[in-house]
Symmetry: D3
């Protein structure tokens, strides 16, 4: 069930049987010569939407499609929120969902660079309750889609060499499966991109000339993407159920 | 051309021939018994994406899908950013696009409640340059899709009675055209909803029992939606070209 | 009754019979070769103070004399608050008045450039209550003095040509009536100023060489100002009474 | 010369001969049974406006009429900015004046409770330059009107007993001189109000039942107010000249 | 009793018999050719820790070791918080201590440049309660160590000439007593440093070539430091007891 | 070399030969029945100070002694900064150090709960440069002391069972070695504490009755602490040298 394609009475009815909602969250940022700028928000959206087709218990909020990607700004098309802005926005999304009675808010994340800020945002929200000595009426959970049970292991089997950490063949494969009309090709030089630290945008572009980090996106295929989605969907439904079932202490 | 389905080299190439980009911007909020929660971000997205199919000069950024809708929070499914958060986020989106060399940033808006905050956000961004006594390298423009040339006039012809101002038959028609599988029906009582002021969420729900303001959404049809989209697309392409062509003083 | 010239026991007594207060709000910004820098806060102050002389029910707070005028900064004398600051300040004024039991807070505005930020500020305040699922104990209303019943129509009759949108003969006439010792004259070239968009300060000065937009301030006279004030005062008292009488839903 | 009653060309001309401007700054807060709510902003306004009549070198900006008065909120009519808001607003006023080329910005203050926040605001502004390793193009100075040369000594002679620290006879006398039609009377019980610490608003009202601190406002007369204004004006003009004449190191 | 070297059950037990806590607060900033960068936080820490050895009623929180020192940034080693950051941090420290039930929070300050911002921070915290019409459950007090009873008088006796206001012999003496292994020497030229206003960092360094203001640190000795500490400790314990004993109104 | 016990000329001289500085950073929070409230800032301080004794190249800034610990607030003595405050403060510390010419700023962290916010703070700082299209003149690095080469492995050997994640025997051992006079004992029930998620403070206290998570602090001894410190110091000096030696791309 997609929240944006539902009416408020439908959400009201859903809340009678479940208090859990998924927010796909990612980033709109360069992904090398062939990766889509939307890769990091398209992947969790693809997986969450697929999950919602498999289970009536899966309610998916609109996708939070821009995240923390300051280091990618020297590559055209990147759009990002600075951490303070990102935290404020996550806070308002969460307070809104919490106000409706959602008790379990599950962020399915598609961008490693988001993790620190999302966790900081959770702490910022909890801190309001801690200062007031009140129980927070909802719990938040962050899960990267590649950390869903079995997904990373599958990716390692699919791409034992050249997976890397940015513009990875696994994430590109997922978008190829989801958007087969938008598959791009390029010559990669070197085949496997370099690795190193992440600092500000000009430093990043100086280190990673075409935007990849440690990856060989040429390995991606829509079929592999389909396998990853399939595994992710199964694990997501399970993980979500466990979170939903968690009792309050 | 959709930015999220493009690569950074494609955007780099686009910037060689155009410095203009559209950002569909809306809200995720209740739209009465039958309107989709996503109505206000789906409408500008539908129109902008259609325009991008018609013209290679139309580049569409990801949709900014949550806006200022505090007054709708008492209806389940509404997600909003408070104005200060919304302004910060618009600022970061715009600074990101400006950093790539976009000189004309065109927000196609789908939510009346966004207008004040978006304009305040523009002023906040311009003020940075004003205080520094610098020219702002980009211009921003806000256009509501219903204010595109001919659109509102068409809606008035289509819905001479019962158009109203929230959960209007015109916006619902556009989403029916775009998402024909998500058309909902309900009995409306009264047929045409009441009107009045907008204050905080509980006041809003007390005044507008089913979430509509002055509207009769039963009048919406996908066909009328298609007519509205057609008109909007033509006018959007023209308006965008005029904005793109505006010379710097 | 002027709040600043009252004592707290007088305000305490006033609150026994009325819960309504006016805040004149404007801007301190250039108004062309002959308009006073204070024009936009002087106009609503003049009108509100006149109204307070006519009716014991009209309580006027101190004037909020600096607003959102970033675009005028390239002209000496302009002082402005960026929107985020302006919103914070409006918030604190309003919370203060609300804390005393005022239930209807009426902002009589003198600057078009303030409108978006004031409305965003209202939403920011209401949003606190919406998130907390509480009723806001007060309602806010924004009214531009030229939108008071009959005022704009009168101005159009007085100045059928050359009214324009900034440094208008109507606002200058009001200050001429209020401050007859501060009437200035100049040669205007061109007679009617150009119009166009509003961006950052240097852009504004490049477009509007002497600071006017579309106006011919030479048409202003203190007599016409007096007529405008007279009309505005009558309508203000009526509008305020309607607002004060509005029942809570 | 009053900035608000001047045009931008007049300020442009003034800047040719002087780079100094006064900002009267105060608070709108309860001042006991008979003190005007505006006392703390009226006093510096009265003194600065008088000074501007005596000297063409004295340019007076609009009055910053609301300040830091959280502790007075339990008395009706008080309006205040929390320190963070107040600092932001002082910052924007100052940046605006600095942008025009004012090099000496002189805040004539009328409220002891403002001092800490105004000084913190100055540091916040200077810190921007310190972090950027730039010289600040303007200097700020805070002066309480009672600290102007000879003023406090005169007040001590006028009111050797019962001057106190809030709703003092000296400040009330100044407003009596400035606003003779708004002189109020009351029985004070006790004659001289108690003293003590300042905390939040309810604590304040519990300690200071009628809002005075250590003062006997019955001692105030318009004549004494006139003497104070006279002394303050002379000293202000001198102090301002010294500040204006201070060379940059 | 040092909070950082205690366990939570020990603090829980302490709160059974006392609701008072000291927070040493200072700054890490240049102190002339021989003064330690930590001088301003070491002094209150030394005094507070000594006091805690003398009395079981003295509980000392960790030292807040960075404050408002923007003007010293042009001298290497200075670390500062801008006022807005400093206020936010003081707020969170205080809210944390208040949440545990501390009712008297005593800031023993070592830096004159902190005073304004700390007081503004107190007002910011109290303002939350004032707006909510609630009593603040705790009271805050700021005391500079040199303002403790008898301390400044002793310093004036010890250093009748050349005490000055920054890098004073008294504060340097205290650190010499506390850190005898870190005593530094230098030739001072001139012997007594100049005085003047405080603005941004480059202005400060231009005025005060070696970082001192009005002082002759060569006068400092560890023995004099010991005398100052002794006096300060006695007075601190007394002042703290008076604050602790203050009844709520 | 300890920055706080140095003078500015000493730091100026240090900067001639090194551009690297360590900031010990931790938290002041409950650490179970026997762990010191200061554990998380004492550990990195102990290690960094030891390292500074071993090598003239190790310059240690004052300790940032309060961090993100909202979840511990229900245990007395905890003091924390909410993430937004913490980020602002880290930003000001870092900008200060960067202003002096430090090019490598190394945060030695003692609290797992700080990691997300510190990384977000780094991104916030870098983002300023990314938006301005400038190189950041300094690089920041975060290292948890237990992640220093060989440290965690040693802890696993020392405490193969009952190490846990909060109030661990390894961190308590380090403070026992550093503060042998402050060793506390208690009966632990159960011997090994439970584990689980981290949410707001009341939830935390409900889950973890005595404040420990998964740990058996009874295993700690000062000797084991000494071994950990020894290993950490060697690795810190090496890690710091590698960071210092990293060339700019």
């Amino acid at each position: 069930m997609l929240l944006a394609l539902s009416t408020w009475p439908e959400i009201e009815a859903f809340l009678q049987r479940s208090k859990t909602v998924i927010v796909p969250i990612g980033s709109n940022e360069q992904h090398g010569p062939t990766g889509l700028l939307g890769t990091d928000w398209l992947c969790p959206e693809i997986i969450a939407h697929e999950a919602s087709k498999r289970s009536d218990e899966v309610l998916v909020a609109p996708t939070f499609n821009v995240g923390m990607a300051q280091h990618h700004l020297a590559f055209p098309g990147t759009i990002f929120l600075r951490p303070s802005t990102f935290m404020a926005a996550i806070g308002d999304w969460t307070r809104s969902l919490g106000a409706h009675g959602f008790e379990k808010i599950y962020f399915l994340n598609g961008h490693g660079g988001n993790v620190a800020t999302i966790e900081a945002a959770f702490s910022e929200i909890y801190a309001e309750y801690s200062f007031r000595k009140e129980r927070c009426p909802f719990a938040m959970k962050l899960k990267n889609w590649w950390d869903l049970d079995g997904v990373n292991a599958l990716a390692m089997r699919q791409f034992p060499v050249g997976h890397g950490s940015h513009a990875t063949p696994s994430e590109i494969a997922v978008t190829q499966w989801g958007y087969p009309d938008s598959i791009k090709t390029a010559e990669y030089e070197p085949r496997i991109a370099p690795t190193g630290p992440i600092r500000e945008a000009l430093d990043f572009r100086a280190r990673y000339a075409d935007g990849r980090m440690g990856s060989d996106p040429a390995l991606a295929t829509p079929e592999k993407g389909g396998e990853l989605v399939k595994q992710a969907v199964v694990s997501l439904i399970k993980d979500l159920a466990a979170f939903a079932g968690e009792a309050r202490v």
